[in-house]
Amino acid sequence: EAGVAQSPRYKIIEKRQSVAFWCNPISGHATLYWYQQILGQGPKLLIQFQNNGVVDDSQLPKDRFSAERLKGVDSTLKIQPAKLEDSAVYLCASSRGLAGGRSTDTQYFGPGTRLTVL
C-alpha cells in the first residue's frame, strides 16, 4: 500500500511570495490533515478534512493560509503572502476516517515539505 505522498520536499521563497504544497493521502482514507511543525516543536494541526468537508480549521491563519481538498482525495495548502515565521515543515497525514474524523484514528504521515522563507 502506497503511503502519503507530498510535494515538493523542499521549497525556498522570499517573504511576501506565494507557495503551494500538494498532498495525496493513502488510498481510501477519508480524513486528511495538514500540520505545521516548527523546528524543535511538536506538530500543530492547521486544518482537517473529512472527505472534502472541513472538520477543524481553528488554527489555520486564514488571512494568509488556504487549503482545499477537491473530490475528497488530493489536497493543496497555500500560503499567500508568506512571512518569515512560516518557515517550518508542513506535514500531511491521512487516516481511515472510521471514527468520523475523530482523533482516535491512527494518522499516517507523509515525508513533509520543508519551507524556508527568506
Binding site: Q41, G42, P43, L45, Q48, V55, D56, V89, L91, A93, G101, R102, S103, T104, T106, Q107, Y108, F109, G110, P111, G112, R114
Partner: protein
C-alpha cells in the same frame, strides 16, 4: 484539561544500552487512545503504536516495548539494545474519544552513539 508531558528533552546513550522514554498524560475522559510516533532526521513521522485506555497489557514488538499504567497516567516506551538507527525524536500523543485533535507531547530527542 488534556495534556501530554515528555519531560526528557534529550537523551543520549551508547549503542546497545537500554533506554526508556517517559510519557505522562492528563485527561478526564475514561475512553482515550495513546500513540507513539518516531521522527528520524528525514522528517517523516512514523507511527509506532496505538493503545486504548481499556487495554493495559504491555506491548512488545521486537526491541520496542511499551508500559501503560493508568494508575500513574503513564505510557512509557523502552528500546532494548539500542542501535544508531533508533536515533530520532519520539513523540507521545493523546486522543480523547470526542475530540478531533491529537494532543502532542513536546518530543524527546534520542541520540544513540556508536
Amino acid at each position: 484539561a488534556q495534556k501530554v508531558t515528555q519531560a526528557q528533552t534529550e537523551i543520549s546513550v551508547v549503542e546497545k544500552e537500554d533506554v526508556t522514554l517517559d510519557c505522562v498524560y492528563e485527561t478526564r475522559d475514561t475512553t482515550y487512545y495513546l500513540f507513539w510516533y518516531k521522527q528520524p532526521p528525514s522528517g517523516e513521522l512514523v507511527f509506532l503504536i496505538r493503545r486504548n485506555s481499556f487495554d493495559e497489557q504491555n506491548e512488545i514488538s521486537g526491541r520496542y516495548s511499551w508500559n501503560f499504567q493508568k494508575s500513574t497516567s503513564s505510557f512509557n516506551f523502552t528500546i532494548t539494545a539500542s542501535q544508531v538507527v533508533d536515533s530520532a525524536v519520539y513523540f507521545c500523543a493523546l486522543s480523547e474519544s470526542g475530540n478531533y485533535q491529537l494532543i502532542w507531547g513536546a518530543g524527546t530527542k534520542l541520540i544513540i552513539k556508536p
